[in-house]
């Protein structure tokens, strides 16, 4: 077994850890429930967020150009990247021109999506992720397992071991406060040494040309306040029309993500600081393709809060790495096939279609319906296995004929318990009834 199912089975294999991970992530879902409970108009706010995004996406080219004009007027330079490769090249070009070899980064799922770190390191740039969770997974040379909590798959003891190895903390140290303090000291040096700072973008405001970055650690501010170059990387879908609309998303984002009323830092960048430079790289990387597919368009409303991951019973029990993509969970499973449908054909099936994701989504993305639609799309493109296709075809043939269905049902009841099948590896079949409902119903009708 390969793909998500195989990796998930390995994750499930460690029962104690599975339970711990499920509880840790569910805890955050609960915090979200409490936080949104304080907003009586929560459901209206979700609708509003969804509608604002729909509006913005419907005239994205105009808003993007408006943003570019206003950003330029504020003193920033905007670059356009068609895909991940072009994005990485632009960022590297900006660094190379200024002979930058030490870069600090705050969290950006986009750069994870583009594999920017690997690219820059291959070109001799030292990249330091300054978000604590990101730094932890960077030390381990693994991708984040969660959009908002990159190291949620790790226990504090493991982080203690890692820091002992990498930062020289005392062996056996696992107190979160002391570990965080050690990371602070380490990162402070990196901030001071950095020649450039790169941030993600949570929202880009068309009417002002500013970008907004939300963090809990203040690392975006530190990373952009010291070095003379700030590079902000964003997907085309990050636009909001004006600060008025921004307010709606700021109310939705942190509550949905971590159950906080608002992130500790909400940093607005309108042009560079005096004496510094600001460059904004706007990336498409498959997004306009999604925009062109009406049944999938809503996925571009995503504000990367990860509420769908936290509520997903499959994510909680398979871990972020089982998805094999930068953005895991339900939203990742609907986005990844747009980039490479063949490679990620298993992801739309990594869901029981329970629909919890769609109901927590702060911008009302119809996630589980998109997963369902993707399954159809994958079949249509011939990307599902021939044996699945054959089983479906045969079953449909039988079920289309009532007589054949009756015979098949009888065979199932007589021989089913004796034929090895994947159902019975961990589960019993119910006791097989001698007669089907229809047979018993017929008797009842006759007896009247």
């Amino acid at each position: 077994m390969t793909g998500h199912a195989g990796r998930a089975a390995a994750f499930v294999g460690n029962g104690a850890r599975l339970h711990w991970h499920d509880q840790a992530v569910w805890f955050v879902r609960n915090k979200r429930d409490v936080a949104r409970g304080f907003i009586p108009e929560w459901e209206e706010l979700r609708s509003l967020g969804s509608q604002i995004k729909a509006h913005t996406l419907s005239r994205l080219p105009e808003y993007l150009e408006q943003f570019e004009r206003n950003a330029a007027a504020a003193g920033a330079k905007v670059h356009w990247a068609r895909d991940a490769e072009e994005h990485n090249r632009i960022v590297h070009g900006l660094l190379r021109e200024r002979r930058v070899t030490r870069l600090v980064k705050s969290k950006s799922m986009l750069t994870e999506e583009c594999h920017l770190n690997e690219y820059l390191e291959a070109h001799g740039v030292e990249v330091v992720d300054t978000d604590l969770g990101e730094r932890i997974v960077q030390f381990r040379r693994e991708p984040p397992s969660h959009i908002v909590m990159p190291a949620i798959h790790l226990k504090k003891e493991e982080i203690g071991e890692l820091f002992h190895e990498r930062l020289g903390t005392p062996a056996g140290l696992s107190d979160p406060r002391e570990l965080t303090e050690a990371a602070r000291v380490h990162l402070r040096e990196k901030f001071l040494e950095a020649q450039a700072g790169l941030t993600g973008v949570n929202f880009a405001i068309a009417s002002t040309g500013g970008v907004v970055v939300c963090t809990n650690e203040g690392n975006a501010d530190l990373g952009t306040s010291l070095p003379p170059l700030h590079i902000a990387c964003m997907g085309v879908e990050k636009l909001v029309p004006s600060p008025r609309e921004l307010a709606v998303f700021l109310r939705l984002l942190a509550r949905s993500a971590t159950g906080q009323p608002i992130t500790t830092y909400t940093s607005h960048f309108h042009g560079p600081r005096p004496g510094a430079q600001m460059h904004i790289v706007i990336v498409d990387h498959g997004r306009s393709r999604i925009l062109g597919r009406p049944e999938f368009r809503n996925a571009l409303k995503c504000i990367r809060c990860a509420a769908c991951l936290n509520t997903c019973p499959v994510y909680r029990r398979s871990g972020g790495h089982s998805y094999g993509v930068a953005v895991a969970g339900p939203i990742g499973s609907v986005l990844a096939p747009h980039v490479d449908a063949k490679k990620h054909a298993g992801l739309p099936f990594a869901s029981s279609l329970c629909g919890s994701c769609s109901d927590v989504c702060p911008v009302r993305i119809d996630l589980h319906h998109q997963l369902f639609a993707w399954r159809g799309e994958l079949a249509r493109r011939g990307l599902l296995s021939w044996h699945k296709r054959l089983v479906s075809r045969v079953a449909a043939w039988v079920l289309a004929r009532t007589w054949a269905y009756r015979i098949a049902g009888k065979l199932l009841r007589v021989f089913g318990p004796h034929v090895p099948n994947p159902w019975t590896r961990q589960r019993d079949l119910p006791p097989m009834p001698r007669q089907s409902f229809r047979a018993q119903w017929r008797k009842r009708v006759r007896a009247r």
Binding site: A5, A8, A9, F11, V12, G13, L18, W26, D33, P40, W42, E43, P313, V314, R317, S318, F349, A350, S351, S352, L353, C354, G355, S356, D359, V360, F372, A373, R375, G376, A379, R380, L384, K388, S392, R393, A395, A396, L399, A400, T402, G409, R413, P422, W423, T424, Q426, R427, D428, L429, P430, M432, P433, S436, F437, R438, A439, Q440, W441, R442
Partner: protein, 246 residues
């Protein structure tokens, strides 16, 4: 009132008692029950696997089979949702579909919304309610823990007049059991882990039995319960109500 039973294929073959309880219950509340014998399966397993073309023919067959009837009632939230929410994707231009979607009901919503009955009876057990996902989030039989709306549950409302029935208090009131159709096989490991966690929640809460509106979820849970030799019983809401109001 004439009611045609839409009995899901796996209920027909593996849980005939649920079909019989559904019929008995509907008759008890004054409906005249028919079972159109040409019916087989709504096509959800194929659609769920992505093979919409294979499901399409079965959707047409469903429209044809149930055309003569005033109401169609099904003891499954998932199969009802297939007709109501997914058939339009399969047959966008079918004129017969509008009628079928409008008259197809899951059993509990039919009792609650159409017949408007509040069953009276006795059932002296502590029962755990499994909120099957499609009944909850696609048919909206209840409010669900995710949304901030006034709490309601049509199934709980049907239990209100049943003396002695105590509902257990679960830690996670509406988490998926992990059945998920073909998911149960394709992602067996996660599916079974989800099921075990649900069962553990019911055990902690002291449920003597687990009930729900979908036999498929119950079959999955029962399979794990039996394999592990646990004491819990499962029964469909139709069986519970039929027994309680006898």
């Amino acid at each position: 009132m004439d009611v045609a039973l839409f009995v899901p294929c796996y209920v027909d073959q593996l849980y005939p008692q649920v079909g019989l309880a559904t019929a008995a219950l509907l008759e008890r509340y004054g409906a005249t029950v028919h079972f159109p014998e040409a019916q087989t399966c709504c096509g959800q397993p194929m659609a769920n696997s992505g093979f919409f073309d294979d499901a399409r023919g079965l959707a047409r067959k469903m429209i044809e089979v149930f055309a003569p009837y005033e109401h169609v009632v099904c003891p499954s939230g998932s199969c009802t949702s297939m007709v109501r929410n997914h058939y339009p994707d399969l047959l966008p231009d079918d004129p017969g579909l509008v009628a079928l979607r409008g008259k197809t009901f899951e059993l509990c919503e039919f009792l609650h919304d159409v017949l408007r009955v509040r069953p009276q009876g006795r059932f002296g057990h502590k029962v755990g309610l499994h909120q099957s996902c499609h009944a909850l989030r696609e048919l909206r039989l209840g409010s669900g823990s995710e949304r901030l709306v006034a709490p309601f549950s049509k199934i709980r409302a049907l239990f209100e007049g049943i003396e002695g029935l105590e509902l257990s208090r679960l830690d996670r009131t509406d988490e998926c059991c992990g059945f998920g159709g073909t998911f149960a096989l394709a992602e067996e490991a996660v599916s079974c882990a989800m099921g075990r966690d649900r069962i553990a929640d019911h055990e902690r809460a002291g449920s003597e039995m687990i009930t729900g509106a979908d036999v498929s979820c119950l079959m999955h849970l029962e399979g794990l319960i039996r394999r592990e030799g646990k004491k819990l019983r499962v029964l469909h809401v139709a069986e519970l109500l039929e027994e309680a109001t006898r």
